[in-house]
């Protein structure tokens, strides 16, 4: 099989080191690693790569993931030896180039999103949330404020509640109204009853909708004495258009690996910088880069929450985002967002012809549709549609998220898709919906074009086999 693990390829040898080491320190258990030629390794992983699908393979409209094209120049330049070979314990004098980049991108992010300072340490969006909430935690603590509840909308990403708990908060959901906005009455209710530390909001929401009442919400939270947190994983719609800082968000994290075109790596590395308004700056994890005659790392004065990463975060990803910004410029970034929104609306307005659109509004960078009715009629679920799209040569949209829309498919074309490819995607989708009605069994059988068909996830848990040698 093409997806056989490399351990199947050859006999495992049984060698142990013959070097002289005190017996009580010496390893006795053999590492069952295969001994292969470079050619064998090349063929194995080249083959594996062909079982994958990347943004260069075709349209990848995975909602909330912003699978935009990754400019190759990012890879080339971030891989210069002057960046890759730098040791994190080298002194600042040796690191002026990289420090300049970190300094400058922080300025750019502050300007673009409306914050006083950013920490670049968090390694991903969730890590940024965690950091941001710890900042809020310490800020409240410093002010002897015992607020301990974090509110999240019912459409929130799973990392939000998980991060809040990791930062020591309790969590409570706030429902959305029928327009996908936060239900202000419900918000009022909980604010009046609970000690709300912060409200974590994604705007545009994970429904791809702009929160109409954001200014009102901001006032409500702040009047209540809490803080507003911006989950900036969905910032691709708003660059240069509106700034979370201006909307009233006190803390914000970004996903550079989404909005700033750095590749997702099959699951990271990402980068999730956290920006804060002035009053929260002292709590940012140190050190931060400052510029005098030279660039240097500067620790804050004992108020910071402390490091959230062993060194300075996923620096190489940050370099790529820096390049992305230079490649576009301020005006170009704005055009990115406008085009992302235009594309999403274009595709939404086609797609609604064939499947239900639960929120009939202009969308931002993405939109959700629902297969609920289709499923009732034909038995074909969002999952079935997703699998059938694979056979048409597409990566499926995100499915079953956000959880408040039943049989949800969340579609995000991004700005780097062109009209032809969106049209082709729509035609494929249309074919599948037609087939769902004509011969649903065929759709249920999908995918049939890949190395495996649908995999038994229950068996994976019931009879766990998590390493090759597990019996």
């Amino acid at each position: 099989m093409d997806n056989s693990p490399i351990f199947e390829k050859v006999e495992i040898s049984n060698k142990l080191s013959s070097i002289e080491i005190a017996p009580q320190l010496k390893r006795k258990k053999v590492c069952r690693f295969p001994d292969l030629s470079e050619s064998q390794v090349a063929r194995h992983y080249t083959k594996l790569s062909t079982l994958n699908f990347g943004v260069d393979s075709g349209m990848y409209p995975l909602g909330s993931c912003t699978m935009k094209y990754n400019y190759k120049i990012l890879e080339r330049l971030a891989s210069l030896p002057g960046f890759l070979q730098l040791h994190p314990f080298q002194n600042d004098a040796d690191c002026q180039g990289i420090l300049e980049i970190l300094y400058e991108i922080e300025l750019y992010l502050c300007e673009l999103f409306g914050y006083s300072r950013f920490s670049l340490q968090p390694s991903a969006g969730a890590h940024g949330e965690h950091t941001g909430l710890l900042i809020i935690r310490d800020y409240l603590k410093k002010n002897n404020d015992d607020r301990d509840l974090v509110l999240i909308p019912d459409s929130a990403h799973g990392t939000n509640p998980a991060s809040a708990v990791m930062a020591g908060f309790r969590v409570k959901k706030v429902p959305s109204d029928k327009w996908g906005n936060v239900d202000l009455d419900k918000l009022n209710e909980v604010l009046s009853k609970e000690k709300v530390a912060a409200f974590m909001l994604t705007n545009p929401s994970t429904l791809g909708l702009f929160e109409n009442n954001i200014i009102k919400i901001s006032e409500m939270i702040h009047e209540n004495g809490g803080l507003l947190y911006y989950d900036g994983a969905n910032a691709n719609a708003l660059m240069g258009k509106i700034r979370p800082g201006d909307m009233g968000f006190d803390v914000c994290h970004l996903n550079l690996h989404k909005t700033f075109g750095t590749p997702h790596g099959g699951g990271g590395p990402g980068s999730g910088p956290v920006g804060v308004v002035e009053k929260l700056v002292p709590f940012l994890p140190g050190p931060l880069v400052s510029k005098d005659k030279e660039y240097k790392w500067q620790n804050q004065e004992g108020t910071e929450i402390g490091r959230i990463h062993g060194f300075h975060g996923n620096v190489n990803v940050v370099i790529k985002a820096y390049i992305y910004i230079l490649l576009h410029g301020g005006q170009g970034l704005k055009e990115v967002s406008e085009k992302a929104v235009e594309n999403a609306n274009y595709l939404m307005n086609k797609t609604r012809e064939i499947i239900d659109l639960p929120y009939d509004r202009v969308c931002m960078h993405e939109f959700v549709v629902s297969a609920e009715k289709l499923k009732k009629e034909t038995g074909i679920s969002a999952l079935d549609l997703a699998k059938a799209l694979i056979d048409k040569g597409y990566h499926p949209p995100t499915i079953y998220f956000p959880q408040i829309v039943h049989e949800c498919l969340m579609i995000e074309p991004t700005e780097t898709e062109d009209k032809e490819s969106m049209d082709a995607f729509f035609e494929a989708f249309k074919d599948i919906v037609a087939q769902a009605k004509a011969s649903p069994d065929k759709v249920k059988a999908a995918p049939v074009t890949r190395v495996v068909g649908r995999l038994d996830e229950v068996k994976a848990v019931k009879e766990p086999k998590l390493t090759f040698f597990a019996k």
Binding site: R27, P81, G265, H309
Partner: protein, 427 residues
């Protein structure tokens, strides 16, 4: 060409009018050629030393990255893909992670592994919180024993602000007291000073008292030679694998890992890949035990991990496959021999005390007479990247200096370092 036509639309009509379209002070767009010149200039403003004369280690090593690793991860099917949510179209990534889990489990001598964590420091923090879950407590009490990186300690403390466990740091192993209320004993192996220490007495005691044993490994290559954590009796192993196939890269992206016993699988933070099959009995791989995870369990998840360090795990997987058992053993032996060689040479210098412990790659040196920051400047003039002046990290480590060898070095390179140090101290 990065060109996107601008357009006029009313898609943004819901945005508050008073704050829409702010004037921003951002750079002008540059062409790819301009960006290339600029970044080449910035890269050149960093000082890079020849790898055979780079004696800085302390958890991040100048280890050779075989060209095949860079080549394969640069295939866009790998590096531009998302987390493998749709398994049928992601068997490349999933099979590789399954291999990664196998490699890490084998190397650490444990049953199972997760798919990666952000870095070694956060893996330690996650491991400590995993102890709390395993102990089924609100908060646990943990002893962190031995020499650990101050950065790791700081990250552990930051994470712990939200967790609220009781963490006791005991630098001197002799001073560790395993009271009955202790939930876990965390050991460094090799520790931050590169020392490989026999912890068997402490571990025996912990085992007897039902205290979980956590190993933190920041130089996993050492495990090719030294007793694996599994053999030592570890319940959880966390650490850093950036030096297996990735670059120092100023500290990030790195590669946190976590391995453990099969029965603790539901307590693991982060992604896990498992084998299963399709309706036709074809084997395949999926993300599994997802009910632990944030997107399903939300506030009850074992961790908030979503994106992890997938591509770094792929790098390590390819690296291990390329090296093989023979290559890994040869490399570990080579590093060990060079460690011994450098120790021997330094021991002959006046004014220096060399570590009496067994060391691997990192070597602790003590001198009360030498200004190490000055020494490093002196070495820089000879194009040598000196070691770590430990007192810059922790004042209590005054007079301590940490040097590391690597595979690029020949004995002559080590001799050159030692003679340069001698030249410095002789004035």
């Amino acid at each position: 060409m990065v060109t996107l036509g601008s357009l006029i639309t009313n898609f943004y009509k819901d945005l508050p009018k008073n704050i829409i379209n702010p004037e921003l002070n951002l750079p002008q767009q540059l062409s790819e050629a301009e960006v290339q010149l600029k970044l080449e200039g910035l890269a050149n403003s960093n000082t890079i030393y020849s790898k055979n004369l780079s004696f800085l280690g302390a958890g991040v090593y100048h280890r050779h990255v075989p060209a095949i690793v860079d080549h394969l991860v640069s295939r866009s099917e790998f590096y531009t893909a998302y987390t493998p949510y749709q398994p049928e179209i992601s068997q490349g990534t999933l099979t590789a992670i399954f291999e990664f889990q196998t490699y890490m489990a084998e190397l650490t001598g444990m049953d199972i592994s997760n798919a990666s964590l952000y870095d070694g420091a956060t893996s330690l923090a996650e491991a400590v919180q995993m102890v709390t879950r395993v102990a089924d407590k609100e908060k646990s009490k943990v002893i962190v024993a031995g020499i650990l990186s101050p950065n790791y300690k700081e990250v552990l403390n930051t994470y712990n602000k939200g967790f609220g466990n009781e963490i006791v740091y005991v630098e001197e192993l002799e001073e560790v007291r395993l009271e009955t209320d202790i939930d876990a004993l965390v050991l460094m192996y090799p520790n931050f000073f590169g020392q490989v220490i026999d912890h068997s007495v402490l571990i025996d005691e912990a085992k007897k008292k039902g205290i979980a044993v956590v190993f933190c490994v920041t130089n996993p290559l050492a495990l090719m030679l030294f007793k694996s954590p599994g053999e030592c009796g570890a319940d959880i192993v966390c650490g850093e694998a950036v030096s297996l196939g990735s670059y120092p890269s100023y500290g990030g992206p790195a590669l946190g890992f976590l391995t453990t016993r099969q029965d603790l699988v539901r307590n693991i933070p982060g992604r896990i890949v498992g084998e299963t099959e399709d309706a036709n009995g074809r084997k395949g791989f999926v993300l599994t035990f997802q009910t632990r995870e944030q997107h399903i369990r939300r506030e009850k998840a074992t961790s908030n991990i979503c994106s992890n360090q997938g591509l770094m795990a792929l790098r390590t997987t390819i690296y291990m496959s390329y090296m093989g058992q023979t290559g890994m053993l040869d490399l570990a032996e080579d590093i060990y021999r060079k460690t011994e060689y450098l120790k021997e040479k330094i021991a002959k210098l006046n004014k220096f005390v060399v570590d009496k412990n067994v060391n691997f790659q990192d070597i602790l040196i003590y001198s009360k007479d030498v200004e190490f920051s000055q020494l490093n400047l002196f070495l820089k003039k000879k194009n040598i990247l000196g070691g770590l002046d430990l007192c810059e990290l922790d004042r209590s480590w005054e007079g301590c200096y940490l040097l590391a060898v690597n595979e690029y070095m020949k004995n002559e390179d080590i001799d050159l370092l030692v003679s340069s140090i001698k030249e410095f101290i002789d004035g």
